[in-house]
Structures are given as structure tokens and as C-alpha cells.
């Protein structure tokens, strides 16, 4: 970084400017603390919130684990890769570059490379975000950022449902494949089957095809009929229909076949993926016997939608709501505030809904925060407009969420020897035994008795599957997302946390 310690760090530079891969540990931010607002996550929601709040006169810190802004949706190659047209793989690229330009011109303190592992409410009602720094969270001293209000825009991660053979090399997450492509321009294979459920699949398939991969099939477990059952939400969101249409057109151009109500039920191969079996599903997602077809491929990109990443909020006791697709999102009020006063959230944390909704919610939350801190009423035309747009996009998101909710029958494609938890190598059979023989009735006890979800990923990969298996045919409880460490933290960093935060603004006695 070129800034002197007394200056705020420079905000995201234009892609042409070289950017250090690992930011330096941050001592300087203590100068300006406490901030009016700390935003965790620099994706669409966080970026919009930080820029808007700053333009409304607030002192804002924007924290993100990545060296670049943009989050997962606008993930783009590091400037050193010299990509000429990163926008070729993106929708909404201009909206992102607009926010990035406004960030560069703002007074927002952009703290890149900050992995926030915990947020804590102090006795005076303010917030502290604890972060470790560096590319992998092991550089420098632990950072502590204090702010009067906090906004969580931590996005989502991909939901996976296990299947026989999914541990073979060549099986990647659908979102992971997209991220590899967007950030490194790398393809997971030459012949890639895209499978799972959710609107991301079409986008992934058209990106892969555009980048030169053969996509023999897109396999979607849901039908699209559920969308048609909510015509009002569709009519109110013509842009969403146009987006789907543009993916559809791209797929047609690349001769990609979309198979609805079907799933990849097995992956074949010895050292890596050689083929997959695609099977038709009934309305409950139960594989229909005798319908399996083998498709040759060297990679499978699979994902079942996204799960809101809300552990920082749930560790604080924020109320959640069950989303139509069975995941948990944060319960938010009309102005994006969580059940904890002074803590707002925007974007996928309240339910997965895409970049435009995320930007809208981020901007709306920033207005609400500014109104609270400046003692104004949160009304006016701008806020009313944002609320209307948020409601319209949120309604569409709920329809989408319902359309892609996994049916209970998916567990039928799990054999007893299928690994469910990859970190601890726990099979479906062992989890079933914990439930039927040992008295586990929920994901937590199944985890205690089998170690499923206790490994490195802390259940992000297997949480959905373990909850479904633990429910034993009943309605699965969504994983409770109680992960007090949002990222692993070295014990030396924990031990170095000071007992009392230093007061940067000592008051006169």
C-alpha cells in the first residue's frame, strides 16, 4: 500500500493499476475509529451500502477477505492476469464499475484482506469486528475495527447435496466453476456436465460454453412450472425473464441441452470423472427407476442453489427466517435492520436474490443507518423508491427459492457408502445409523455421534445433507449456522486480543 499510516487506505483501484496480492496488516484504521458504520463484505450489497453511506456523510469502513471488491458475483481476474474484457463473463458489469468508481472517489476506508471471524456488541452499544489479515488470514496482527453501527453483507455459499462418486477429482461446485472462470479464466474440464438446481446453472453453463468448454447437458432437478404459478412476480420483473432468456439463447447457440426434472445420481471414473448417470426425478425428487442414462464427460459442475452466510449474525443471536428453499436467512425489518438494534444486513444474508436486489438493499440499509445516526426520519422519495424495488425483487427471489427447493426424495440417490462429510469421511450409512440406532434426532447430535461437519469446512459442505438425514423423513431443520468462528483463527492471534479496546477519542473527565 502506498498510503501513509495517517491516510485512509486507497479504495479499489482501476483494473489497470497494479494491486498488491496481500494487503499489509492494518494499524492505521485505529486513527479514525470508531467509524459510524462498518460494512462486512464488499460484494454488491456491501459496496452499495458503503458508498451510499459515505455519500450521506458517514465515516465508513468496508471490510472484505478478498483483495478486490465485487464479491462472488463480480469476481474478476487479478490485474496481473491482464484480462482485457473481464466484463465478458458478467451481467451488470457497468453497475459494478459505477460503484467501484464511486468508492474510489469516496472517503470510505476499504480494508481489503480482512477476514472477519467475529463481531461483538460492546457494553456501550457499539460494535467491534475482529479480523485476521493476509491472504489466508495468517499475516500480521489481529485487527479490531470499532463502529457505531454494523452492516453484514456476507453473501452466500453454495449448497451441495452429496451423490455417489462426488469425491472424484473433476467434480466441482457450479459456483466454484464460475468463480474459477471469472477470477482465473480456468475451465474445470473440456466436457462439463452442469447439474443441480437453481438459476445459477444456466449462467454457469453459458459462461463455460462461451469460454470454450463443451457442455453436453444442463441437468436441473426442478421443473420451471413453479415460476409460472406466480405470474405476478414474473410480470413485475421483466428484467429477470430477459436475463433467463439471454442465457437460454446462449445455450441454444452452443447446442446445450437442458434436462428438467432430472439429476446426476452417480459419478463414474477411477482417477477422475469419466461419465455421469443422469436420472429422471419424480415430483419429490425421487429418482425414477430405469431412467438412468450415462453421459461421458471429464468434469461435473454441481450445485443446489446458495445458502445465506449468516454465522456472524446468528452468533449475535439475530432472528432468522426459514426461506422457501429450506435454507435460513436473517429476519429483517422493512429497513433491513436485524432483530438486534444497530445491526443491519443486506443482500443474500436475508435470502438469495441476486446482485440487483443486493445493491438495492445495500443502498436502502445505508439510508436507514444514516437516518438513525443523524436523528432523521427514514422516509422520503428515495427511500420509498428503494423499498418498492426491494419488495418487487424480493418477491421474485421467493418464487425462485420455492421453485428450487429440494424434494425429500433426493436422499434416495445416496447409497450407504456415499461420503456425506468429505472432511471427516463420514458416510450416509453411518449418519443413518446414528439416527435410527443411537438416538440422534437433529444435525447437532448426528454430528456429535459421527463427526459429520466437524472438519475443516465446519459443515458448510454437508450441513444440508446431514439435516435431511437426521430428520429421518420428517421436515429437516435448516442447519442452525452456529459457527462462532466465521474463519479459522490462529491461537496466537486469539491470545493477542486485548482485554479492553483502546479508546481512540478519550473524553475530558
Amino acid at each position: 500500500m502506498t498510503a501513509s499510516p495517517s491516510e485512509p487506505e486507497p479504495s479499489a483501484p482501476e483494473p489497470s493499476a497494479p494491486e498488491p496480492s496481500a494487503p499489509e496488516p492494518s494499524a492505521p484504521e485505529a486513527r479514525r475509529e470508531p467509524y459510524d458504520l462498518a460494512v462486512v463484505g464488499a460484494g454488491s450489497a456491501g459496496l452499495a451500502a458503503a458508498v451510499t453511506a459515505s455519500e450521506l456523510g458517514l465515516a465508513v469502513a468496508l471490510l472484505d477477505a478478498s483483495a478486490q471488491t465485487g464479491g462472488q458475483f463480480h469476481r474478476h481476474p487479478a490485474p496481473t492476469l491482464g484480462a482485457r474484457r473481464p466484463e465478458a463473463l458478467h451481467h451488470d458489469w457497468s453497475a459494478f464499475t459505477d460503484l467501484r468508481r464511486r468508492l474510489a472517489g469516496s472517503s470510505v476506508t476499504h480494508l481489503a484482506g480482512h477476514h472477519v471471524w467475529s463481531t461483538v456488541r460492546e457494553d456501550d452499544g457499539s460494535w467491534t469486528a475482529h479480523a485476521v489479515t493476509g491472504a489466508d488470514g495468517t499475516a500480521g496482527r489481529p485487527a479490531r475495527i470499532r463502529a457505531r453501527t454494523l452492516l453484514l453483507a456476507t453473501g452466500a455459499y453454495e449448497r451441495q447435496l452429496p451423490l455417489p462418486g462426488w469425491t472424484l477429482p473433476g467434480v466441482v461446485g457450479a459456483g466454484g466453476a464460475q468463480a474459477m472462470l471469472k477470477s482465473g479464466l480456468v475451465l474445470p474440464g473440456r466436457r462439463v456436465v452442469v447439474a443441480g438446481s437453481g438459476p445459477l446453472l444456466l449462467a454457469v453453463a453459458s459462461s463455460l460454453a462461451a469460454a470454450g468448454a463443451r457442455v453436453p447437458a444442463v441437468v436441473e432437478a426442478a421443473g420451471y412450472l413453479r415460476y409460472v404459478r406466480s405470474p405476478l412476480a414474473l410480470l413485475a420483473n421483466p428484467a429477470k425473464a430477459a436475463e433467463a432468456l439471454s442465457h437460454g439463447t446462449a445455450l441454444l447457440r452452443h447446442r446445450v441441452r437442458v434436462r428438467l426434472r432430472s439429476a446426476v445420481t452417480e459419478v463414474h471414473g477411477t482417477d477422475r470423472v469419466e461419465a455421469v448417470t443422469v436420472t429422471r426425478l419424480d415430483a419429490d425428487w425421487r429418482p425414477v427407476p430405469g431412467t438412468g442414462r450415462r453421459i461421458a464427460c471429464d468434469a461435473l459442475a454441481v450445485g443446489h442453489g446458495l445458502v445465506p452466510q449468516i454465522e456472524l449474525a446468528t452468533a449475535l443471536g439475530c432472528a432468522t427466517r426459514r426461506l422457501p428453499d429450506g435454507t435460513l436467512g436473517l429476519a429483517l425489518d422493512d429497513l433491513q435492520e436485524t432483530s438486534e438494534r444497530g445491526l443491519w444486513a443486506a443482500g443474500e444474508t436475508g435470502g438469495v436474490g441476486g446482485a440487483e436486489l443486493a445493491r438495492t438493499e445495500g443502498e436502502l440499509a445505508a439510508h436507514a443507518v444514516a437516518a438513525r445516526l443523524l436523528g432523521r426520519r427514514a422516509d422520503g422519495d428515495r427511500i420509498a423508491g428503494l423499498r418498492r424495488r426491494r419488495d418487487r425483487l424480493r418477491a421474485f427471489a421467493e418464487v425462485m427459492s420455492a421453485a428450487h427447493a429440494p424434494g425429500p426424495g433426493w436422499q434416495d440417490w445416496l447409497t450407504d457408502d456415499t461420503d456425506v462429510c468429505r472432511c471427516e469421511e463420514v458416510t450416509a450409512g453411518r449418519i443413518r445409523e446414528a439416527v435410527t440406532e443411537l438416538g440422534a434426532r437433529d444435525a447437532r447430535t448426528a454430528k456429535l455421534l459421527t463427526r459429520a461437519g466437524m472438519g475443516w469446512c465446519q459443515g458448510r459442505m454437508c450441513g444440508t445433507a446431514v439435516s435431511c438425514l437426521a430428520a429421518h423423513g420428517g421436515a429437516p431443520e435448516p442447519p442452525a449456522e452456529r459457527r462462532p468462528f466465521a474463519v479459522p483463527v490462529r491461537l496466537s492471534a486469539l491470545a493477542a486480543l486485548d482485554g479492553e479496546p483502546d479508546d481512540p477519542h478519550p473524553r475530558a473527565p
Partner: protein, 391 residues
């Protein structure tokens, strides 16, 4: 026939203490129904480290319980499947300076008279037992009788014993006790109906006070919160249960304020578990970074090599605390047919078998394995807060 399936006894609580009560009652020939509102090991058992300790206990009634229980655990380890992970790993208590060492020596001498084996380890021999300990420690005591089990499996596997005489009913909450004309126990009412039996055992752990209230008696079980830090999986860097000498004082303290002392141990699965904190804050589940800081600082002071190791999670639990630090075990004279087996604070995994033996003896009219007067459940009756005025 409603009575055909009626058990001899109902145990409320499917934690390790309830499971042990069921096990020993079944061994005595009784049929047992175990009711829990959640899953097996859903409360404090599932949040415990599985310590079976004699080293941390002052001579007295609790140490007597612990010594008998240590023998019972050795026997159970033969009976239960290997998933219970019983390991006679031994404990190592270390002191950082000579005054600390003198206190340990005096403590161990008193324990020895009560039947505890403790062997002094001079500072320069500590590394024979624990190669990664900090080089500056003054010395310690090795306690070979200390052991460890995997608590959730211990509870689950104990419930599977009994040759068909143990019937778990999980996901069913007890909402009331059924009593006869003389106030004697007739069974329980649950969210799924009534279960009839002449005896009910309160093994509800931290929630034992609430169950006692349903029976109309006062038993002041309070939650005492503890955090455990869990590291990424490691090769065996910690062989024993290793803790700093001040742990003993913290265990014995009744203070509500936060107390932490370093307790470090490896697990067969690889992660190192780091405790121990104690604070009385009700059932508050909020993360405390101050607790985490102290735990990490304590553990890295004992094992500097852990400084570069990452913590991947932390969890918390609520120890069932009674004001005199002794559990409530045995019949409640205020309600005929009601027995208590709760309030073991942080020692429930270790003390579960002896508790089960006592309860089974009381149910069958046998002689308990030790004098149970110190654990009588009615001993707090005169501390009962006055009843609120009628509305």
C-alpha cells in the same frame, strides 16, 4: 391395556447421567423408559469434553464418588463398543513456579490419604510425559487414574445396553408429574401423552431445577457456562489431560464472575480441546471474545507450539451447578417415588456410573456403594425463595 407396557421407572433426561441410571436400573432387572425433549446427549453431555477426573477433587464426598466411578468406567469400557473412546490417558497438573509446586504437593498428599495416586514430576522430567510443554514450568503431578471418554457416544451406547429393558422416548417433553392421593409419584405427562410408573428419576441436568419445580420441590440447579476451543486436527501433540494448578481452585469456587484456567487435551480424532472457563450468566449463548482470549493465552502458555495452530470452532455448554458443588442423588423425601440424579456441575460424565449405581440401589432397596447423605436432594429446602403472592 394401558399398564402392560408401563415401565418400572421413568428416567427424565437422555444425557450421560440418565443413560447410566437406565443402564444400572436395567442391570438390576427393572424396565426403564427414558424420556427427553431432545435427542440423546442434547444438553450438557453433548457439550462436555468427557473428563473422568480424580485429580481435580479435594478429599471429600465428591472424590469418593469419583474414585468409585473411575472403577466403574473401567468396567464399562470393557462392555461398551470402541466408539466410546475410553482412554486411560492420565492427567498432568503443572505449576509454573515453586510456590505453585508446594501447593500441588500439599494437595496431592491429602488426596493420597483418600486413595488417589499422584506422582510428582520434576520440571526437567515433564518433557518425558509431554514433549511440547513450555520449558519454563517448575514441575507437576501425574495422575494415572484420570481418563477420558467421548460423552455423546457414552450416553448413546449406554442406552443401547440393558437387553431390551431400556426404552428411549426422545423428542418428548415432560410437562407434568402424575401423583396419587398421598402425593406419591404415578408417572409423567409428556407432550405425547402419559407414561405410568411408580418411580421417576430426575436426570435433567442443568434443567433439573425446572423438573423439580414441576414436582413442587425446590432444587436450585443453576447454569454455569463454559467454553471449549477446538483446534484443527493435529498429530498427537498433547498426550495427557494437562492443566494448570489454578484449575482446582476455579472448580471449587462459587463465584459468578468469569474464571479461566488452562486445560488442554488431545482427542483420538485429532483436534486439541482447550478449556476451561466458568461463569454464571444464565443461559446466555453469546460468544465472549474475552473468554476465548484467555483460553488461547492459557493454552499457548502451556504449549507454545499451539500458537501457530488454528482454532476452527468453539462451543459452549451449561454445567448444572448446585451451591455446595455436590450433586443431588437419591430419593426426595418430599415426593415419594421421585429420585434426583442431577447437579454434577462439570463432573457429570465422570460421575455418571456411580450415580446410576446409587439410583439403582435406591430403586431396588439395596445398599448404595457409599454414604449418600451429603447428596440428599432436600438439603436446599430452606433456601427456597418465598412463594410469589397469589394473583
Amino acid at each position: 391395556m394401558p399398564t402392560r407396557n408401563a415401565p418400572d421407572v421413568i428416567v427424565v433426561g437422555a444425557g450421560v447421567v440418565g443413560a447410566a441410571c437406565a443402564h444400572y436400573a436395567a442391570r438390576a432387572g427393572l424396565s426403564v423408559t427414558v424420556v427427553d425433549r431432545g435427542p440423546v446427549a442434547g444438553g450438557t453431555t453433548g457439550a462436555g469434553e468427557g473428563n473422568l477426573l480424580v485429580s481435580d477433587k479435594e478429599p471429600g464426598p465428591e472424590l469418593e464418588l469419583a474414585l468409585i466411578s473411575a472403577g466403574l468406567w473401567r468396567e464399562l469400557a470393557e462392555l461398551l463398543p470402541p466408539q466410546v473412546e475410553y482412554e486411560a490417558k492420565g492427567g498432568l497438573v503443572v505449576a509454573s513456579d515453586e510456590p505453585g509446586m508446594r501447593a500441588l504437593r500439599a494437595f496431592a498428599a491429602r488426596q493420597e490419604k483418600a486413595g488417589v495416586t499422584g506422582r510428582e514430576v520434576p520440571g526437567d522430567r515433564l518433557h518425558d510425559l509431554e514433549p511440547h510443554l513450555a520449558p519454563t514450568l517448575a514441575g507437576g503431578f501425574h495422575y494415572p487414574q484420570d481418563a477420558q471418554v467421548m460423552p455423546a457416544h457414552a450416553a448413546a451406547r449406554l442406552l443401547r445396553t440393558g437387553g431390551g429393558r431400556i426404552r428411549p422416548r426422545l423428542g418428548e417433553e415432560v410437562t407434568g408429574l402424575l401423583t396419587g392421593p398421598a402425593g406419591e409419584i404415578r408417572g409423567v405427562r409428556t407432550t405425547a401423552g402419559e407414561i405410568h410408573a411408580p418411580y421417576v428419576v430426575n436426570a435433567a441436568g442443568t434443567w433439573g431445577g425446572a423438573l423439580a419445580r414441576l414436582a413442587g420441590v425446590h432444587l436450585p440447579v443453576l447454569p454455569r457456562r463454559g467454553f471449549v476451543l477446538v483446534t484443527e486436527p493435529l498429530p498427537r501433540v498433547v498426550r495427557h489431560k494437562v492443566y494448570a494448578a489454578d484449575y482446582v481452585a476455579d472448580v471449587a469456587s462459587g463465584s459468578a464472575a468469569l474464571q479461566t484456567s488452562a486445560v488442554v487435551e488431545g482427542t483420538p480424532a485429532g483436534p486439541v480441546l482447550i478449556g476451561a472457563s466458568r461463569e454464571r450468566v444464565g443461559f446466555d449463548r453469546t460468544l465472549s471474545t474475552e473468554v476465548l482470549r484467555r483460553l488461547a493465552a492459557g493454552a499457548t502458555a502451556l504449549f507454545p507450539v499451539l500458537g501457530g495452530v488454528r482454532a476452527i470452532r468453539t462451543y459452549l455448554g451449561f454445567r448444572p451447578y448446585l451451591p455446595d458443588h455436590l450433586p443431588a442423588i437419591g430419593p426426595d423425601p418430599r415426593v415419594p417415588g421421585l429420585l434426583h440424579a442431577c447437579g454434577h456441575e462439570g463432573a457429570g460424565i465422570g460421575l455418571a456410573p456411580v450415580t446410576g449405581r446409587i439410583v439403582a440401589a435406591c430403586l431396588t432397596g439395596d445398599e448404595p456403594p457409599l454414604d449418600i447423605h451429603p447428596f440428599r436432594p432436600e438439603r436446599f429446602a430452606d433456601t427456597e425463595p418465598p412463594a410469589p403472592p397469589a394473583p
